[in-house]
Symmetry: C2
Subunit: 144 residues, 2 copies
DNA sequence: CACTTCAAGTTGTACTATACAACCAAGTGG
DNA sequence: CCACTTGGTTGTATAGTACAACTTGAAGTG
């Protein structure tokens, strides 16, 4: 069956990609690990959120996020603002430096991707982007 | 520009995927980490190879591979055979147990993927698979 | 043949990301 | 007011990784 084979290919290729990304992400941007990068990215997209939100979004333990956040704060890339309504809550925001570094890393990542995708027809690019978004948007019946 | 946006989406989604895969792979199959899984997979595909080959293929340090291989051997999933022509070389082979576990994990991963892709039209599946394969097949001008 | 150089692997050490569990602090509801 | 919940931190353990130093075997060169 055609579809079955395609599923297998998707599985294999996504796995291969994940392994490689993991292996190389740290080397590309010593300033910002893949995790830190995605966390900063989420902060930018969301315009500020809580550590708990990050943990939920990325299926990470809150302790992990707590330490990542601590490191990012120490590096002055984000800042915490106490929520006046609920003093347990720290709303996280990008600092100017954070925004700058994020943009920088995004740029260099984008350049790498663009090189990699240079000879793709635009139509294929758009479809591929759509498939990926659709794939990632999927949420399982009961948690991730 | 449309294509630019698509590149950005691909970048973001691939990154998100890599992060999630890393975070969840270990939980899905405590018996076989993502790295071990890909190493076993490579051994199966290649029909046996050296540790150095694995390191080169996955851009891992040879020490890392050495330890992974040691663990896989201890778990009786692979075995080392001294190359009679070059006594420095250990050719790695899957054991029967290794082949079995690999098939098992592959199955369960495939099931998860299939669930995730259940409602995709076959045409989209095939195109997506093609894009991923094409993306991963790309090799950089000078290294990864 | 002895000497250097190279290649394959191992081991020591350190670091990062991670989880889990125990904890603290601040709201919430009886 | 007290129990419970929620947001977050800290202690501890583990996995995966890199880099550097080392061991062993092979290969080339005088």
């Amino acid at each position: 069956m055609e579809a079955d084979e395609a599923v297998e290919t998707i599985q294999r290729e996504m796995t291969a990609f994940a392994r490689r990304a993991r292996a190389s992400a740290g080397r590309m941007h010593p300033e910002l690990s893949l995790v830190s990068y995605t966390l900063l990215g989420h902060l930018e997209e969301s315009g500020g959120c809580r550590a708990t939100d990050l943990a939920a979004h990325y299926a990470l333990d809150k302790s992990t996020v707590s330490r990542q956040v601590a490191a990012l704060e120490q590096a002055r890339l984000i800042e915490r603002r106490l929520d006046p309504d609920d003093h347990r809550v720290q709303v996280l925001h990008l600092t100017e430096a954070g925004r700058r570094i994020l943009a920088q890393v995004t740029d260099s990542r984008r350049a790498a991707f663009r090189e990699r995708l240079a000879d793709w027809p635009e139509e294929d690019l758009r479809r591929f982007a759509g498939y990926l978004a659709r794939y990632n948007a999927w949420t399982p019946p009961g948690g991730d």
